[in-house]
C-alpha cells in the first residue's frame, strides 16, 4: 500500500481472529503513534477486556483513562454510545438518558441488526470529526475491533442498516459511517495475524471478504515472529554436529533444531503472505516479535515505522 503511513490516518481499525494478539497490536500501534508525538487513543469495545491492563491500568474503571506513554484508553459501551447519539444527533433532553436505559430500549437496540456496531462507530466518528468542549481530540484513534467474525461485521454495520431502513436517524447515521469507513484518506485497516499456515490463509480469506465490500487492508502485521537461533540456515547442520560433540549437548541440539524449524515455518508462512501481495496495490506486511517480557514496548518498537 503506497501513500500515507498507517498511523497517519485518523482511524485505524485493527482486525484479526482471536489468539493473534490483536489487542496487544492495537495497544502497541497507539503507543507507537504517541511516541512519535501524536495524540493517540485506543478504543476497546465493551468492559472487561484485556486492553486497559496492557497499558498499565486496572481492568475496570471509568470509560476514558490515560494509560502508559500518554495513550488514552477509551472503553465504549453500547449504552453510552446510544446516550451520546441521543444527545448529539437528536438533541434529546437530559431526562432521556435514563429512558435510554429502559429495558424496552435496550431490547430494541439488540433487535436491530448492526445497530450496536453502528452506534459504536458513530461515537468514534463524533470524536474524530466534531470536537467540542469536553471531548478530548486525537490525531489518531486505534480501534481494537471485536474478534468475532474477524471484526468484519463491524465494518459492514452501515450496509446492514441501509438494508433494514432507508429513512430516519439510523439511516443517516449509517450514511455518515459508510462515508467514514470508505474514506481511505481517513480510515485504514490493519490486520493482525500469525506467521503460520492457518492464520495466513485465514487472513487471505479475510482480505477477500473485505474486497467484496469494497474495503482493503493498509497493513498486515504478522505477530510473534521468532528469529532463528542460527542466522545462516546453511550453518545449522554444522552447529548441530558441534553440539552433539559437546558434553551435555544433546538436549540443546534438540531445542536448537526445534527453534530452527519453528522459525523456518514462520518464514515460509511470511513468504506465502508476501507472495500473495506481490502487486503494488496489496497491503504492506510488517512483523512484530514474540517477546518474553515488556511485550508492548518490544512490539511498539517494531511498529515504529508505521508512525
Amino acid at each position: 500500500m503506497s501513500g500515507k503511513k498507517l498511523l497517519d490516518h485518523r482511524l485505524v481499525v485493527v482486525l484479526g481472529k482471536g489468539g493473534v494478539g490483536r489487542t496487544t497490536l492495537a495497544a502497541a500501534l497507539a503507543v507507537a503513534a504517541a511516541r512519535a508525538g501524536r495524540r493517540a487513543c485506543v478504543v476497546e469495545i465493551g468492559e472487561g477486556g484485556a486492553l486497559p491492563q496492557k497499558l498499565g491500568l486496572p481492568a475496570r474503571g471509568s470509560s476514558l483513562r490515560r494509560g502508559m506513554h500518554g495513550v488514552d484508553v477509551w472503553t465504549l459501551t453500547v449504552e453510552e454510545c446510544l446516550d451520546a447519539f441521543g444527545r448529539r444527533k437528536l438533541r434529546l433532553p437530559s431526562f432521556a438518558a435514563t429512558v435510554l436505559r429502559n429495558r424496552l430500549v435496550t431490547t430494541f437496540v439488540d433487535a436491530v441488526p448492526g445497530l450496536h456496531d453502528l452506534l459504536l462507530l458513530g461515537r468514534i466518528e463524533s470524536l474524530l470529526s466534531q470536537p467540542r468542549g469536553g471531548d478530548p481530540r486525537y490525531d489518531v484513534i486505534v480501534l481494537d475491533a471485536p474478534a468475532t467474525g474477524h471484526g468484519i461485521t463491524m465494518l459492514q454495520a452501515a450496509e446492514t442498516m441501509t438494508e433494514v431502513t432507508r429513512t430516519g436517524p439510523f439511516f443517516e447515521l449509517a450514511l455518515a459511517i459508510q462515508k467514514m469507513v470508505a474514506d481511505r484518506g481517513r480510515t485504514a485497516i490493519a490486520i493482525g495475524t500469525l506467521a503460520e499456515e492457518l492464520p495466513v490463509s485465514e487472513t487471505l480469506e479475510l482480505l477477500g471478504l473485505l474486497a467484496e465490500d469494497g474495503f482493503s487492508a493498509h497493513t498486515v502485521i504478522a505477530n510473534r515472529i521468532e528469529h532463528p537461533p542460527v542466522p545462516d540456515p546453511a550453518a545449522v547442520p554444522l552447529v548441530l554436529e558441534t553440539l552433539a560433540k559437546v558434553a551435555d549437548g544433546a538436549g540443546l541440539a534438540e531445542l536448537t533444531a526445534a527453534a530452527t524449524e519453528r522459525a523456518a515455518r514462520q518464514a515460509e508462512a511470511l513468504d506465502m503472505l508476501r507472495r500473495a501481495f506481490a502487486s503494488a496495490t496489496g497491503p504492506d506486511v510488517v512483523t512484530a516479535p514474540r517477546a518474553d517480557r515488556d511485550t508492548l514496548l518490544a512490539v511498539s518498537d517494531a511498529l515504529a515505522g508505521l508512525a
Binding site: K17, G18, G19, V20, G48, A50, A59, F85, L90, F95, A96, T98, V99, L100, N102, V105, T107, F108, D110, A111, V112, P113, G114, P146, A147, T148, T153, Q156, T160, E163, V164, T165, R166, T167, G168, P169, F170, F171, L198, S201, E202, P229, V230, P231, A235, V239, T242, L243, K245, V246, A247, D248, G249, G251, L252, L255, T256, A259, R262, D292
Partner: protein, 358 residues
C-alpha cells in the same frame, strides 16, 4: 440418553480443533458421536477427510469401533429450519422474505450462539447419537455462549417488542411511554414498519419459541451435559474464567474441567556450559553470538513452560480443583486424522492429567 459435551472458551484457543479431537476420542472409545463445528478452517475438513462440511452430519472414516459424524453450523439454514418448523407454510414464506428477518438471521449479534443451541437441541432429539460435541462460536468472553441465546429469545418474545411496534397496546408506566416515544423518533418509520411486519408474523410462532427455549434450557441444565473450558496455555484469562464459573453455577450446570491447549514441554537438561560451547567453535562466523542465542534457548523454554504451568495451577485452584487435561502443542498443527488422534490421546474419556502442581 444422548450426552452433550460443550467446548467453551474465547476465540483463538484452538477450540474447534480440540472439539473435533474430543469427538474422535469418544468415537474411538466406541460411541456414536456427532460434532457441531463453528466456522472450521478448511484444513479441519481435510483432516477429517470429508469433502466439505455443511449443516447436515457427514460421516468421517475413523475405522471404528464407534462412529464419528461432523457438521458445520450454517446459521441462516438453521434459522430457516426453525421458522419452517414453527410457522404455518404461508407465514413461513412471508417471514423468510421479510427484510428484517433476513438481516436478523445472518447478522444479528448472538444469533450464531442461538442457532448452535437450536442445532444441539435437534441433534439430541434425533436419538441416534450417544454424544453430541459442540464447538461454541468464537466470542470475546466464554460466557457469551450462554447469554447470547437469551438475548435473542428476549427479542423474539412478543411481549417485549409488540409493545415497541404497536403504540396502541397498553403500556404501563411513564418511563415506558417516554421510551417508546423516543424510539419512534430515533428509529424512524422505516425501521418501525419492518419490525411491525416481522413481529406480527413472529407473534404466531412465539409460543413455539418459548416452549423450545424451555426444552433447550433443560438439555443444557441436564446432568448429561458436561461443559469444558478451552484455554490457551500461554494466555489464560482469569477474569473470563471467574465469570464463566459463576455463570455455570447460576445455571446449575456441571463444570467438567479445562482443556489447557498448546502446552510446552519442560526442557529436560542437562545443558552444556557456555564456555564449553565457546571452546567448541567449529569455525562458523559469529560463533560467540550464536552461542549466546543457543544458551538462551533452554532458559526461554523453561520460563515459558513454567509460566504456563503456574497459570494452569492458579486456574485449577480458582475452579476449586477442577480437573485439567493438558494438551501439548503439535509442531506444524493438525493436518490429518492422525494429528487429531495425537490430540485425542490427551482428552476424555481418558482421565485428566495429574494436577499440574504434581
Amino acid at each position: 440418553m444422548t450426552k452433550v459435551a460443550l467446548c467453551c472458551g474465547v476465540g483463538g484457543t484452538g477450540k474447534t480443533t480440540l472439539s473435533a479431537a474430543l469427538a474422535l476420542s469418544f468415537a474411538r472409545a466406541g460411541e456414536r458421536v456427532v460434532v457441531v463445528t463453528i466456522d472450521p478452517a478448511r484444513r479441519l475438513a481435510d483432516a477429517l477427510g470429508v469433502e466439505a462440511l455443511d449443516n447436515e452430519p457427514r460421516a468421517v472414516d475413523i475405522g471404528g469401533p464407534g462412529t464419528l459424524h461432523a457438521l458445520m453450523l450454517d446459521r441462516k439454514a438453521t434459522w430457516d429450519e426453525v421458522v419452517r418448523r414453527h410457522a404455518s407454510p404461508g407465514t413461513a414464506e412471508r417471514l423468510l422474505a421479510n427484510r428484517y428477518y433476513r438481516a436478523l438471521s445472518t447478522r444479528l449479534s448472538g444469533s450464531h450462539e442461538y442457532m448452535a443451541v437450536e442445532k444441539l437441541h435437534d441433534l439430541v432429539g434425533e436419538g441416534r447419537w450417544d454424544r453430541v460435541v459442540v464447538d461454541t462460536p468464537p466470542t470475546e468472553h466464554a460466557i457469551d455462549f450462554f447469554r447470547a441465546p437469551e438475548r435473542v429469545r428476549a427479542i423474539l418474545d412478543r411481549s417485549m417488542l409488540r409493545i415497541l411496534v404497536d403504540p396502541g397496546s397498553s403500556i404501563s408506566g411513564v418511563a415506558a411511554r417516554a421510551a417508546l416515544a423516543i424510539l419512534h423518533r430515533v428509529a424512524g418509520e422505516g425501521v418501525m414498519g419492518d419490525l411491525r411486519d416481522f413481529f406480527t408474523l413472529v407473534g404466531a410462532m412465539s409460543s413455539g419459541f418459548r416452549e423450545r427455549a424451555a426444552q433447550v434450557a433443560a438439555v443444557l441444565g441436564s446432568s448429561a451435559t458436561r461443559t469444558w473450558l478451552v484455554t490457551d496455555a500461554d494466555a489464560p484469562d482469569r477474569d473470563d474464567l471467574l465469570g464463566f464459573l459463576e455463570e455455570l453455577r447460576s445455571r446449575r450446570m456441571t463444570f467438567a474441567g479445562f482443556f489447557v491447549n498448546r502446552l510446552q514441554a519442560v526442557p529436560t537438561g542437562p545443558f552444556p556450559a557456555e564456555r564449553d560451547l565457546l571452546a567448541a567453535d567449529p569455525g562458523i562466523a559469529g560463533w560467540t553470538e550464536i552461542v549466546a542465542e543457543l544458551a538462551a534457548l533452554p532458559i526461554r523454554a523453561r520460563d515459558r513452560a513454567a509460566a504456563q504451568r503456574q497459570a494452569t495451577t492458579a486456574f485449577v485452584r480458582e475452579a476449586g480443583g477442577a480437573p485439567a487435561w493438558l494438551v501439548p502443542e503439535l509442531p506444524g498443527g493438525v493436518r490429518t486424522i492422525d494429528g487429531l488422534s495425537a490430540l485425542a490421546a490427551h482428552l476424555p474419556p481418558r482421565p485428566a492429567a495429574e494436577g499440574p502442581t504434581a
